[in-house]
Amino acid sequence: MRRAVAVGAWAMLAGAILAPLAIAAGSPWLAGRDPVYIIAGFAGIAALALLLAQPLLAAGYLPGLHPVQARRWHRMVGGGILLGVTVHVGGLYLTSPPDTLDALLLVSPTPFSVYGVIGLWSVVLTALLVAARSRMGLRPAIWRIVHNALAVVVVISSVVHALMIEGTMGAWSKALLCALVLAATAIAILHLRIVGPLLKKR
């Protein structure tokens, strides 16, 4: 029974991540796109989908994972998100340098690109925060608050960015994925940083 629940939970996570990618792969708008543009788009979708795994791993919600394993996966998935964002922005630059530079320099006519840029720099800052963790000498509690604050910015900016874009993602699968990412992030942070500590204090 326990095993069935675990398999079900992992299957749901895999489905939530893979279904939006599969639906986007059927988009009619892919027809006129260069391979580099297609790869850039899918790297963005993959990075968004991986955001769902992060709070679940951080809070230990995924069954059958030892906390040490979950921590290791959390770090690897974080690397995956950084890679996804890098390929996304790099591929968009190769596809249309002026449009991408306009976005990066905050002079783009598209209202959603500013959220993408906020997400990009928040992901980069998160990577620096992780890389410099031992050297910075921050107290663990403070480090976690900074990490979580950046994570909230990454999640909200990515969701707004994705929802405003008219791209290859299916409307419903995109909305559902975004709702799941927001819910998982909110629940994990409330649980780990607010409800958990309060219960411990009593």
Binding site: W29, A31, G32, R33, D34, Y37, L92, T95, S96, P98, D99, L101, D102, L105, L106, V107, S108, P109, T110, P111, F112, S113, V114, M164, I165, E166, G167
Partner: protein
């Protein structure tokens, strides 16, 4: 005065590095009497100067509009408008997505082309007036819906 795209971007960057520049959303027909149309932000992106005159750029979609003279509002015939957009044929840099048309005696132009598809998150076209007689203008009209099959873009040109 011709504003080169790179110059314009550099200028905006200089001005907007820290503060967010307000969006340059300009109604196609300004309220005051035939005020010149302003270049839209991002309008010149992926511009290829001197696109060849074409009969069409495919079928199924119509780009159209009117070209008037600033101040007087008189129609400008025989004026070259350059058009490009992302379509199923390829992206905005695909040569077969670039073409020019001339306005008719009443200042109107029209170009049948392949369906415009969303590019960089928005379904939009690009148009340029970039010849000697008037000031250069780049437009980037956005479609209300990606399933629209027409797009209107009007120019009011000021003497160079």
């Amino acid at each position: 005065m011709t504003i080169l795209p790179t110059t314009r971007r550099a200028l905006l960057v200089g001005a907007g590095a820290t503060l967010v520049v307000p969006r340059l959303v300009v109604p196609a027909q300004a309220a005051s009497a035939f005020a010149p149309t302003e270049t839209m932000r991002g309008g010149s992106n992926n511009y290829r100067p001197d696109a060849p005159l074409v009969d069409d750029l495919g079928t199924g979609f119509l780009m159209y509009g009117t070209v008037l003279k600033a101040g007087t509002g008189e129609p400008l015939p025989n004026t070259r408008i350059q058009i490009w957009a992302a379509t199923p044929r390829g992206g905005e840099r695909e040569p077969s997505n670039h073409g020019s048309v001339l306005t008719a005696a009443d200042g109107t132009y029209r170009l049948e082309m392949a369906q415009i598809v969303p590019n960089f998150g928005q379904a939009h076209g690009h148009l340029a007036y970039d010849d000697a007689a008037f000031r250069t203008v780049f437009l980037r009209p956005v479609m209300d819906s990606a399933s629209d099959t027409t797009l209107e873009a009007n120019f009011i040109l000021a003497p160079a």
